[in-house]
Subunit: 329 residues, 2 copies
DNA sequence: CTGAAAGCGCTAACAG
DNA sequence: CTGTTAGCGCTTTCAG
């Protein structure tokens, strides 16, 4: 493995000059530059990034924390973030927290070990106090997530609007016995969405039925479970706002198994507009999140933070959602 | 940001001793160790990984190249690889090549820049000659992929068996007009699978109909497109081996739109046993790949390579596939 | 425009 | 068991 010294020796120049060529500095004569380039080629030289990172005190890597990589929403989000990162000469390090506090903390440590220059969090598992302890080591940007206490920028979707939109749609279709599925923790985002649901209900003079609030709803399997719970109820909801296409898919699939018709017996609204929502039958009414836009915006904010053009504040960037009406409600 | 020197100073010891504590070396008296630990705590010290990487000439990071992160198969595969990596104190760097030669090459460079200690490739875009040029910088392991020319270990599934199994199943169900969908490039893996298809056909005294070979089949959309092509044919296949659950889902969904019955009018076999296959209607007959096992095995081989217990050879580890019979055929 | 020199923060002989 | 010393490979003043 040739080093910069080998290149310098072969080119008959100093390491400083070679370094200048590597980093595209001005003030290197074309002649010497050619010499260096040739030597680099001849030796198959590639700069060692650990050395560069150490010396420059930066890595050009941004950690992107996601709670579940196998959730298409996050897979697409990561893709959009990566795209914007690449455009700006940055690399991303995908960190799959699996909704686990400890794992999240380990990844946040990367900021302190200088393995990454910044962190984008697409979910928050730990309390903000814990996260705050890390932040002075580098910028953090929240994406599709927020915490009331967080004093960092966050780029997110208008979840309140999402909850309101989905619920209103059901109400307009004439459903009044509406159930609600959610993950289980009323973190900022989930809270807003629920608030939107509540608001739409209230405005229609309806109240929320606590028996129809289903938690721990994440996966297709959870959807099936919830549908079975509903089937056993004496007083059943006739519509569900699920907060996730996967959960919605599970509900629809199980409902059909149970001999129920969707949307006649039970209407369903998903969230995300994932590929599955077009393929399932009946096709899913869902709420599309502008994934590309949110990813790009998040990276943009991060880049500004890194270049100190912007300083860390709790600024919120909010993007709109869109309801995609299909057949399930 | 405190450094090792700050810790040493505060503890009244040398940097060497602090380093020993950091790295859990034996031969540090408990008393001094306590002193160091306390100093580290008091300062909030965390070792700088760029410095460690430079000094140790290794990063404990393995790059995992995947062609498409939004494909659930790869998302799950990455998860299983990560799990095994974490168990062994390794970190993975997920690299999304997007089926792009140039991106693949950029990621392979990480091996030369010493950003990673090894590379796991779950697809190959470039010719092997190109890849070979990189390999002396560190170990490469192929996962669910192989190249005839590759002189590195590969952990893969028996695709020939997969192609054979899916086709035989269709034949046993009485279908004889069987079409075949594939990505478009007959790389090792795809070739084996096709060969299995051919073999099953031949054994049944059937020949492959070239009109029913559909290429560029990757996504749900592609499935829809193919189904529409079929609808226009005078002589139509009555069964399809798709090589992908996504494509199969697209085909089924579109077939129903066209008023066709699945499997009566057209039977479909998928590949991967992705979540979608259970939710779509009719549920998809598909071929399950042991993702957990293949990921774990791949990492195991990588770890042996890194520890020099094993040297790089073209050894092949092959895992079996399993047919999951459902309703689509 | 170019080179010499001084580290970035850490680890690993080696000597004691 | 502990400290001294010599770098890992690169970049960046500072002179010239």
């Amino acid at each position: 493995m040739p080093t910069i010294s080998d290149v310098a020796r072969l080119a008959g120049l100093s390491r400083a000059t070679v370094s200048r060529v590597i980093n595209n500095h001005p003030y290197v004569s074309d002649a010497k530059k050619e010499l260096v380039l040739k030597a680099m080629r001849d030796l198959g030289y590639i700069p060692n990034s650990a050395a560069q990172n150490l010396r420059k005190q930066k890595t050009n890597i941004i950690a992107v924390l996601v709670p579940k990589l196998t959730n298409p929403f996050f897979a697409y989000l990561v893709e959009s973030i990566e795209e914007k990162a690449a455009e700006n000469g940055l690399q991303i390090l995908i960190c799959n927290t699996k909704y686990d506090k400890k794992r999240e903390l380990e990844f946040l440590r990367y900021l302190k070990t200088k393995q990454v220059d910044g962190v984008i969090m697409t979910s928050i598992e730990n309390g903000w106090e814990v996260i705050e302890a890390v932040i002075w080591s580098g910028p953090i940007v929240l994406c599709n997530e927020y915490s009331a206490k967080a004093n960092v920028p966050s780029v997110r979707l208008n979840q309140l609007q999402g909850g309101y939109m989905g619920t209103s749609y059901l109400l307009n279709q004439g459903y009044t016995k509406i159930g609600y599925c959610w993950g289980g923790i009323l973190s900022g985002l989930a809270h807003d969405r629920f608030f939107g649901f509540e608001q739409a209900m209230t405005e229609s003079g309806l109240s929320v039925n606590n028996n129809w609030l289903f938690e721990s709803a994440f996966s297709i399997e959870d959807g099936r479970r919830i549908m079975n719970e509903i089937a056993k109820m004496a007083d059943k909801p006739n519509a569900l706002f699920t907060g996730s296409d996967e959960v919605a898919a599970g509900i629809i699939s199980e409902a059909k198994k149970l001999g129920l018709r969707v949307p006649e017996d039970i209407a369903v609204v998903g969230f995300d507009d994932q590929p599955i929502s077009e393929v399932i039958e009946p096709a899913l009414t869902t709420i599309r999140q502008p994934i590309k836009e949110i990813g790009a915006k998040t990276m943009e904010v991060m880049i500004n933070l890194l270049s100190n053009e912007e300083k860390t504040t709790a600024k919120i960037y909010e993007l709109p959602l869109e309801l995609i009406a299909r057949e399930s409600s």
